[in-house]
Each structure stands twice: as C-alpha cells, then as structure tokens.
Assembly symmetry: none
Homo-oligomer: 361 residues x 2
Amino acid sequence: MITEEQVRQALEKVMDPELKRNLVELGMVRDVEIRDSQVKFTLALTTLACPLKDQIMAEAKAAVLALDGVKEVEIELKEMSAEEKKRILPDRDQPGVAERFNHIEHVIAVMSGKGGVGKSLVAGLLAVALRREGHQVGILDADITGPSIPRMFFPTRQWPKGGPLGILPVESKTGIKIMSINLLLQSEEQAVIWRGPLISGAIKQFWGDVVWGDLDYLIVDLPPGTSDAALTVMQSLPLSGVVLVTSPQGLADMVVKKAAQMAAQLNVPIMGLVENMSYAICPDTGKKLEVFGPSKSGVMATQLHVPLLGRLPIEPQIAELCDAGRIEDYPAEEFAPIAKKLAEMALPARRAMFLNVPGAK
Amino acid sequence: MITEEQVRQALEKVMDPELKRNLVELGMVRDVEIRDSQVKFTLALTTLACPLKDQIMAEAKAAVLALDGVKEVEIELKEMSAEEKKRILPDRDQPGVAERFNHIEHVIAVMSGKGGVGKSLVAGLLAVALRREGHQVGILDADITGPSIPRMFFPTRQWPKGGPLGILPVESKTGIKIMSINLLLQSEEQAVIWRGPLISGAIKQFWGDVVWGDLDYLIVDLPPGTSDAALTVMQSLPLSGVVLVTSPQGLADMVVKKAAQMAAQLNVPIMGLVENMSYAICPDTGKKLEVFGPSKSGVMATQLHVPLLGRLPIEPQIAELCDAGRIEDYPAEEFAPIAKKLAEMALPARRAMFLNVPGAK
C-alpha cells in the first residue's frame, strides 16, 4: 500500500530549477489522492506560464512512478495565490549577499532591440560622461553572448577578484566599476552557448552577487532583442528607465519600436532616444555624409513621445579608441549634454521592488 | 490452450490512433502471461498522460477477449524509456505534417553573433542572387524578436495563407518563398516578448509546419547571439553550413569569432565569410572611405581557415530599396559571384538527421 508520506518523500527529491528548493518545501504539492496503484495530486506553481513547467511535471511524475507499486500518476496544475507566491519567491526575500550591501541610486538600461546600432558605445560614453561629472558609476554588461564593454575599457586582459560578499567588479582607469561575462571567460573569443535560463541567471548574479558598493549610476548594456536578457533586466532590476538607441539604417526604426513597446508593456519609463551613426564626415571636403540615409530619429521621437537626446556621428577615431580599450580618452563633447540631460531626469531606482533596501517595503 | 502468438496477433489489429501503427509493431506489448483463460500483459505507452490511453486500453482488451477461450484480460500500463520513444516517434520534436512533404536540397544559415552587421541584407541578397540563377529559393527568418526580411521583400503588408498541410509561405515578386514572424503579427511594430523556449518553438514550426515544397536552397536568417535561436537552428535543422557576416566595426571581430566557435562546437561547417559595410563612397570625390576603420576580414578569414567570399560597400541606394520592400530591384552585381561560390560549395542538407527522409535512419 502506497502512502501519502511516500509520495511526499519522493517529491522532496524534485527541485524547482529556478527557486532551487524542492516542491514539497515550496508548498507546491497538494491534494494527494491514492487509489490502488494510481496516484493523483495537484502541483501549485508560481505561474502557469512557467517556461519550466513541463520539465517540473516530468520530473515529478518520474519521481512518483519510481515508487514501488505506483503504476499511474496524474498531475493537475494550478497557480498559487499572490499571497502564497510572496512567501516563496526569492527575489523579494533572499537577494544575493552582495545585494544587501550595495546602494545604487539610479539604474539606467541602454536598449535598442536592433543589433549593431551602438548600444554599447552609448552605454560606455554615458558612463564616461557621468564619471567626468564626478559621479560614482558602474556598468553591468547584460549582453552575455556578445559582450563588448571590457574591450572598450581595458587595454589588457583583466580578471575580477572574489571578496567575502561576492565578486568584485573590475575598475577602469577613471574608476568606473565594470562587470561582464567576458571578464570571467578563459578567452574573450570563447562562445557562450547558453539557452535563456542561464542567460537570465548570469544577469541576476551580476546584480545580486557583485559588490557594486555605493553607486550614483549603474548603466546596464542590453543585447539586441526582446527575449530573455531584456525581460530579466526589466523584471528583476529596479530600473529608473531605459535609453533607446537607434540608427538611420533601414529597418532600425521598426525594430527599435518593438523595444519601445516592450518597455511600455513592462512599465519601464523611456528616458529618451539617441541616434547613432547619423552621418560620417568626408575627410577631404568636411561635408556630412548620410551614409545610412537621412535621419529618422526626429520623427520617431515624436511618435514615441520621448525626447531626442542627441545624434552621434560615425567617427573612425572612436572605433580605434574602443578597440584599444581607451574609450575614456575620447573627448566625447557631443555626449556631455546627453549625459547631463539623463542625469537630471533619472528618477531614483524603483526601490520598492526590493525589500532589502532600507525604508522600502 | 491460448498462446502468446495468438494474443500478439489479436493486438496487431489494434492501432495507436496517433502513430497510425499497430501496438505490436510499435513494441508496446510486453510481458504476456497466460494462465488458463486469463491473459495479462503490459502496454508500454509513449506517455502515461496520453489522452487516448483509455481508448487504446479498451480496444486492446476487446481484441484479446475476442479470442476463443479468453475470459479475463488484465492490462498493466507503463511508460516507455526515452530511448524507446525515440525509436518510434516520427522525430523527437514531432515535426509537422508539412515537413514530410517538403524536399529541401540545401539549408544555409546566415550568422554573425554580432548585431547590425547586415546578416539580413546578406541573407536577402544571397536569396535574390540564387533565384536569378533559376533556383527555387526560400528564406526562413529565424530572427523572432527583430525580423527584417519581410520589410525588404514586400512593399505592402502580406499575410500567409493556411493550407491542408500547414502554413503557406508568402512569395516575393520573383518567387522567393518567405516565412517570418512579422508576417503573422497584427502589426509589424508589435514586440515579441518571449523567452527562449517559445523562440525555439517558433523556429521549429517555421521548419516543420511551413509548406516549403521543393526548394533548391533555404536560407535561414539568424538573429545576433549564440543562445536559443542559433542553438535551435544548429541542432534541429539539417544545415549544409553557415555563412558568417562581419563588418570592420571595432568589436565585430571578437563577437563573430564567438559565432565561429559555436559552429565548430556544434559540427556545422562554415562555408565562408562576408564583410559588409567595408567602405562608403564619397559622392563628391568617388573615393572609398573606410568609415568604420580598415578591413579586418582578410586576417580573420585566415585565422578561421575559411574563404573570404567578398566585401560589400555601404550603399545608401540599397538601404532605400530595402526600406521600400524592393531588394529584388537591386542589381547586386557584387553579390552574384558570392552566391555562385556558395552554390558550388553547398553540400546537401544533412538529411540523416531526419527519420522521415527516405533512406535515412
């Protein structure tokens, strides 16, 4: 005769892959019914849209089927109540150790949707300009499969150190704190062939397990797309807002609007639009050449109801400095007013999202 | 006296309604025990959650009870091992009906790792050039969050039709068959905010549920990165090889090498390298301007041991044509030799990956 106790013990061996605790401990196993060799129970998940649902169900089923005498297992799914979820979700109760000691005033994500429009360049120049103003600045490189930030800031290979509270970010020449997957890889050309959950996990660790200390601004450099990385940053980090980057290239327009729509859907304010690669300058004639066609950013800013923060030219000099790890040597005069505008408009990070911030609840 | 042979013969008349083959042939009938007028056996199903379980059991029971001398039938259910399932399911990923009727000779993925270097442009021009040579050509747009292909090929909004076998791709002016998420969205600016498993699912559907028919070449346009989309295409589609796209922009080099490493790790041959945005032409002086710095693609091709297929300039004209859905009007003389080289070197799609292809196992 199979007992409920045996079923529960079997299910104690199944972990929720995200919450890293077993199903019984999480209070997910309910209404166990045993009839001869048939076992039926309900699994209460934190969300029925859980992408790992099938995996959890399969593992739960296999665990119970492994019991002597069980021939059939039926699982019903339901969603936990908001109250129940709150008790077990870790983001709210159990941040990384480092996170409890960090004080980050403003978190600004640089996003585009479209690749190759210069998100990382804008993120880097924004950090440089804010640092020049005397602020404490960090950059969290959330592009896990195509990270560009370390190459811009470090002429030679750097390795982060570990501290008692977590990983220490690497400091640039002017004191910008940087964390990127490329600082942790054996070789910077090594491919990171990860599916979404690992990408999200790495970004959460860069937030929760990195000793950022006291920062006025943390700039988050997002990869292209509106999938896992962008979702994780928008859902798990207390963003002040996002800066959208576009270029006059055909198609950028449409894809950047998808990014804008994502931000709107997730209630993240759009702080403004930066157009990169607006024009090149002919070295012989000094004329502006619109090599990717005429600018569309003015129209786009109006359509999105966001300020156009500025337009940046294509500059062979900056490509060279970035490749040499010397972005901080670039005068970036065009960028100072953009950074100033952003600093003025940046609301404090949405602290209420995080219980561990003093005073927030 | 009832024999096991008789029982098996009776069960050969019972079909699995989904797999359309009989239970014995599928290896589902096991451990037949006969004691006087009592018959007992085990049915190993592909899943215990099978909605047709009861029907199959009832039919199996009736078939055996119909044998002369049988008075009682007892059936035990179990689930097949992963290994056993693999042997009988048409394909682990359950391909759509369309896939069984498609005949696609060569599948070429266009990849970069880096965003914004012109993957979609290269994919589009490659398709156009192959079509001009008289081949049957399709484009599978695997960039689910930032799809660019429809905008290049269609001046007005198009909607795919459904057929009895699956979704029909939309045909371009010159007869290139195209499938993209943007052909299925309400508005092309709608954001697709999906985590990895959904992205992978969509790509698999574009392969398995789209009625491509007979194609000489299917070009797959990949998004940036080495995560879900690239993994799914490399693991689930029978690729002939990948074409890598790079640009002289700083950092492209490093990120494209990550893509090359991924292809190597997943045993997908790299057919060659195309450098896009190599230079712009000053309209006043006619001089080539290397606006993103000097070309690095020659060195890179040597390092990766792959042929450098060609270098494409930045062309305001092509940006305009792409934006207007008229890429097929572009003469693309630079591209004809690239397409020719690729066509010559493309090996047949790795058919052995798919059980449903005749002759493969």
